[in-house]
Symmetry: C2
Subunit: 230 residues, 2 copies
DNA sequence: CTCATGTCGATACACTGTATTTAGACAATA
DNA sequence: TATTGTCTAAATACAGTGTATCGACATGAG
């Protein structure tokens, strides 16, 4: 027994913490989607056994919550926004960009209340941007309405994006793509308005679609903020 | 061997079809949520082996799609709506009611493009209600904006409902409920606007919150429909 | 009666989240 | 120094998942 053939000492396990676990999970999700995240794979990426994670998280759902909150850190504005409208617009676009970087976010958005520290900080920011512009109820309604739109619009955009990616075709060519089914349905004549829309509608890119709807809603919010409480 | 102790003849398998499969899956989901739906349990409810289902559906995702489309059948208006606004309002409320009956719908809403026959029929209806009121692009934007709101608002409502149910407490009492965490955060003073909102905000029931945001958006849509195409 | 066909069910596989048990490294005590 | 106790990492185990494969069997054709 010399220095050379001395067996490796039992490797001191690398220290672990929630941050590293969450980071590994996010990396996995970015690469292979949410369903590629398994506790075993997360642990493997950290050279640990699966059960080790339970010292830091208590369930897989909690891990998802932590992942969502971690992404909320990317949603904090770099500079203080000019006014409430810019604040909400900025928040919406940052959320959309984050969802394009982390498509799995679309699967989780709105799925559970976000109460992590970063989510709270984001909420604080948008709420503060509207503070004092109207009574509290109106302000809350404004924030919730806009954020409902953000959630729904992002989910639809990502859903369409995945569908297009899966079929390799753009939305207009759907009828031929997923076609056998959809085009047959449209050809039945039972859906004239839809058929016309698919046929005559010009392709709008997702970003302008998102922005247009958002601006409509911000217009509505502006109108309500201007009015004194009913 | 008499008639009495004659062994059961090999039971002719009950005939199966997609409708029965989807109905069984929906029943399971209504009772125990989406994660209670497994192919084995669906099959068991139909006195069939799990593999039998693959003669009618090709994957579990497809089963989910069929479930969603089945619920869309509940979204068809009973009577032709009076005008575009009533059409959209009705659609929104019917969707919300359906999600309250089938909470799992919130998990699937907006998750993938809905192209089933019932979803197409619903789309046809809402599109037809707006037909001719503006150029096609504006109409499409209106429908998509409203439906994004519907998706997001319903998801949030169901998410809150589940959270309240899990803690047994109402939203205002969150701070004490999920409290140790949230109330401590709010007590740090880092979130003054949030703290004030939680403290001073009066509880609004989910339905009026939903309706209020919806009406704001419908106001915005009305304004855009009135304008000639830019 | 024999043979082909096509459908159903059993079996199997690779994986999941998590509970429980076991082994082993360190700290404190005798 | 020897020994005990404690605490943590890992191994094992379990019940379940979606789905591929394959063998048996009931039915229809010749």
């Amino acid at each position: 027994m010399t220095v050379w053939d001395r067996p490796e000492p039992p490797t001191r396990p690398a220290p672990l913490d929630r941050e590293r676990i969450v980071a590994a999970a996010i990396a996995l999700a970015d690469e292979g989607g949410l369903e590629a995240v398994s506790l075993r794979k997360v642990a493997a990426r950290l050279d640990a056994g699966p059960m080790r994670l339970y010292g830091y998280i208590s369930t897989k759902e909690e891990l998802f919550d932590l992942m969502v909150d971690e992404v909320h850190a990317e949603l904090l504005p770099e500079e203080q926004p000019g006014g409430w409208r810019e604040a909400l617009r900025g928040h919406a676009h940052r959320t959309r960009q984050a969802a394009l970087r982390h498509e799995w976010l679309a699967d989780l958005l709105g799925g559970r209340p976000s109460l992590g520290p970063n989510a709270l900080a984001v909420g604080e920011g948008t709420l503060a941007a509207l503070d004092g512009l109207a009574d509290l109820d109106t302000v809350m309604r404004a924030v919730e309405t806009v954020s409902a739109y953000i959630t729904g619009a992002i989910r639809r955009e990502i859903a369409n994006l995945r569908a297009e990616r899966a079929t390799g075709l753009s939305k207009r060519d759907w009828q031929r793509a997923h076609g056998p089914h959809v085009s047959r349905m449209l050809a039945t004549g039972r859906f004239p308005a839809l058929a016309k829309a698919v046929h005559d509608g010009k392709e709008v890119d997702a970003e302008t679609s998102f922005t247009t709807g958002l601006d409509w809603i911000l217009d509505a919010v502006a109108a309500k903020l201007a009015q004194p409480p009913a």
